[in-house]
């Protein structure tokens, strides 16, 4: 048993924290939020140069990390600074699927990605799938050499900026079967693919992606036909570890801001943190922070284990972070009072990151239900 970071990860954490402290202050980030792309290519390139994208891939894949704890270290820092650049979508999800399933041609994109020269997105969820990742209504029908894709993908984060999309489609099977789901790597300018973009509440942008007789070829498929689900589930697990770590980082910032505020802001001549009601509630936040940190460690540490245990730990973490995150976000706002209601104050964005993480890849209740099922199995 050992809960210390390796020297490499410690260095990664230090350099990323330093970089974001220097380059990503509230004003800079709020300007990014207000921009029409919702992200900064300077920051993206800066992160790539720092090796952050590489840290999310194994050596075999061209990186120098890729384990659960690498994701946890990187995303905790991204979360702490409220980073909105699409690291999760380009690297962990779409990049990860290429690494898992791609042929040599497809894998050649990874080097560009790790260098900062490629944006990707995963077009998987659909308007009526909510958090059920087996539910794929989008169809892939083979006609001769063509594979014709039709369907609609919902809230595809980073679709506008992406050069290529990883698109899921059903080649066979009923709507909620695992078998029959294929993944395709499609350039965004492919005919029949349209992208209708919009901003997201917690920063960044997403789009509704429509596939209208989009023609793919065998060479566009990632992995074997109809066999995409296992990799998809694995990468969604990784995305959830990353999201949990990001949320943990954001919660740390929320708690640090609150601590600062409680110690500085005075009423009746005393710092408000000396008032017992707030002090005790604040201590409850610290307790839930410890719980959250442990949950992230558990999930990250089991990301490389077999599916049932991995999924159980991931669902436990996402549920716990969902509960603790809501508590921390709401209490941090409440203890701040009015100031936390204003857009320009750092906590406003941080609180949105925390709460809105619950809307990606399964919310608190979804993972509660999943944990129950996995425990009964």
């Amino acid at each position: 048993m050992n809960f210390d970071l390796t020297e490499e990860r410690q260095m990664l954490q230090d350099s990323l924290r330093r970089y974001l402290r220097d380059k990503y202050d509230t004003a800079t980030r709020n300007a990014i939020l207000d921009s029409d792309t919702g992200m900064s290519s300077d920051i993206w390139n800066g992160l790539a140069e720092l090796g952050i994208i590489g840290a999310l891939f194994t050596e075999d894949e061209g990186g120098f990390g890729g384990a659960g704890f690498d994701l946890a270290v990187v995303f905790e820092e991204l979360g702490r600074a409220g980073v909105v650049e699409p690291m999760l979508d380009s690297a962990v999800l779409a990049g990860g699927l290429i690494a898992d399933l791609g042929n040599d041609d497809q894998k050649s994109h990874l080097e560009t990605l790790i260098g900062g020269g490629l944006q990707l997105a995963l077009a998987h969820g659909e308007p009526s799938s909510r958090y059920d990742y087996t539910r794929v209504d989008t169809t892939a029908v083979t006609k001769g050499d063509d594979i014709i894709l039709n369907g609609r993908k919902a809230v595809v984060v980073n679709a506008e900026a992406a050069d290529m999309l990883v698109v899921s489609a059903r080649e066979e099977g009923a709507v909620s079967e695992e078998d029959g789901i294929s993944l395709f790597l499609i350039p965004k300018d492919r005919a029949g693919l349209t992208v209708q973009g919009y901003a997201l509440l917690a920063g960044g942008r997403a789009a509704e992606v429509t596939l209208d007789d989009v023609i793919a070829r065998d060479a566009d498929r990632l992995g074997a036909a109809g066999k995409g689900y296992a990799a998809l589930e694995g990468r969604i697990a990784a995305a959830n570890v990353a999201l949990c770590a990001e949320t943990l980082g954001a919660m740390e910032s929320a708690v640090a801001l609150t601590r600062e505020y409680l110690m500085t802001r005075k009423q009746f001549g005393r710092p408000i943190g000396t008032f017992q009601a707030l002090a005790h509630r604040f201590s409850d936040l610290l307790i839930e922070m410890e719980q959250s940190r442990s949950a992230v460690i558990n999930a990250a540490g089991h990301l490389e284990t077999a599916r049932p245990e991995r999924e159980k730990q991931v669902s436990a973490a996402k549920n716990l972070l969902g509960r603790a995150g809501r508590l921390v976000a709401e209490e941090a706002i409440q203890m701040h009072g009015g100031i936390a209601m204003t857009q320009e104050y750092e906590l406003a964005h941080i609180a949105k990151r925390i709460v809105m993480a619950d809307h990606r890849f399964g919310d608190t209740d979804h993972h509660l239900e999943r944990f129950i099922k996995l425990s009964a199995a």
């Binding site: 207000d34 204003t342 964005h349 209740d365």
Partner: protein, 401 residues
């Protein structure tokens, strides 16, 4: 004990329903239901419709042109108007300034200002809070010093959290007229024309991207002494009158009921595992729990209202309702956000370039996540829940209950 409305009350409810059905513009109701931003014109239009009916000034005495509804009638209105998705009546002139003028203003002030509130000629906003003062109004710093001629006050200072101040041409303020007096003393109640030189309104964008509140800055603003309400240095008394007056609607029962209806509608449309989300036992449990809480709170509100209608003054109970009411409304906002799933993520804000395009909203849920964040204010503004809890404990342990 009798939990049903009387025949008169039922008749009144029918009248309210018929009115809303007939007179509330359909597009306006749709905008409210979908969480769209109401323009000043929308609000003015609704006020005019209500004023034509004689229902704009619901709590004003008849002598001032009001409807003089009792607490039960006002409760019925609140619930029915919320269910019909009517805009809320903007309260600053009608509900907040007017009672003070009616009780403490001069005849001239009443005759001049009150009709202008009804016609919409004046749009009032409230200048109480100041930066750094939080819920502690007594520590305010904005100063008003009489000029040598004794004709004007010269006002300097800053107000904040001024709701809808961007639409207002008038502001009623608490200002400090005696610097040497103890905290609550030395405060006066002043009416200020916002077109006077030296008044500046700066927007505050809230965390959900809305422009709802403002800062109002005063630099050497000249205000005629006629605009003082009541006596100099007695403003705190008038402000307190307002704070204890008119708190029967504090629980927001109508809004919560309408909100819960919306949550159920969304959860029937949203699928989870191929079935309507509302059939999911965990989601259903959350809905049921808040519904049971709301059923109880509605009865608590009616109990206070029936006490108020009988002349009792709601004291502690109002604080309790404020706390529980905000918890319930915030929980309902949370449920709406959860129910919308992935589609809670999109966001339209004036502040973000190109974000005004139509958002995908297959559930017709509206900006549920933005509303969730916006309504965090319910437990902060207007006397935070911490302030209310302190009052409840203090009063109870000093002899009451």
């Amino acid at each position: 004990m009798d939990l049903s409305y009387t025949d008169e009350e039922n008749a009144f409810r029918e009248e309210v329903r018929a009115f809303l059905d007939e007179k509330l513009p359909k597009e306006m109701a749709a905008k409210v239901r979908e969480g769209g931003d109401l323009t000043k014109e929308d609000m003015d239009q609704w006020h005019t419709i209500l004023n034509d009916q004689g229902w704009l000034a619901q709590n004003w005495p008849k002598e001032f042109g009001g409807a003089e509804w009792n607490a039960v009638q006002r409760h019925i209105w609140e619930v029915e108007a919320a269910a019909a998705h009517a805009p809320r009546i903007v309260p600053f002139g009608l509900g907040m300034l007017a009672p003070v003028l009616q009780k403490f203003g001069s005849k001239e002030q009443q005759d001049y200002w009150l009709p202008r509130i009804l016609t919409g000629e004046d749009w009032w906003c409230q200048g109480y809070s100041e930066p750094g003062a939080g819920s502690d109004l007594a520590s305010l710093k904005t100063s008003a010093i009489k000029n040598d001629a004794g004709t004007h006050y010269i006002v300097n200072g800053q107000k904040t959290w001024t709701t809808l101040g961007q639409h207002a041409n008038m502001i009623f303020c608490l200002v400090r007229t005696d610097k040497d007096a103890k905290q609550q003393e030395g405060i006066s109640f002043l009416l200020i024309d916002m077109d006077t030189p030296g008044v500046e309104v700066r927007p505050i964008i809230l965390l959900d991207g809305t422009h709802e509140v403002n800062e109002v800055w005063f630099t050497d603003v000249e205000v005629p002494v006629e605009n003082l309400v009541g006596e100099e240095n007695k403003g705190w008394t008038y402000a307190k009158y307002l704070l204890t007056h008119e708190r029967t609607n504090i629980a927001g029962v109508g809004s919560s009921k309408a909100g819960l209806t919306a949550v159920k509608r969304i959860a029937r449309a949203e699928l989870s595992g191929g079935r309507p989300l509302i059939e999911n036992p965990h989601f259903a449990a959350r809905v049921a729990q808040v519904e049971m809480d709301l059923m109880a709170m509605s009865t608590s509100a009616l109990r206070i209202i029936s006490k108020a209608a009988a002349g009792g003054a709601p004291g502690l109970e109002a604080s309790m309702l404020k706390v529980k009411g905000s918890i319930i409304r915030q929980e309902i906002n949370d449920l709406a956000r959860r129910a919308a799933g992935t589609y809670a993520m999109p966001f339209a804000s004036e502040a973000i370039e190109g974000s005004n395009a139509a958002l995908p909203d297959p559930l017709a849920a509206g900006p549920v996540a933005a509303q969730y964040f916006n309504n965090r204010k319910l437990s902060i503004f207007g006397g935070s829940n911490e302030i209310q809890r302190g009052i409840i404990a203090k009063v109870t342990m000093s002899g009451g209950a």
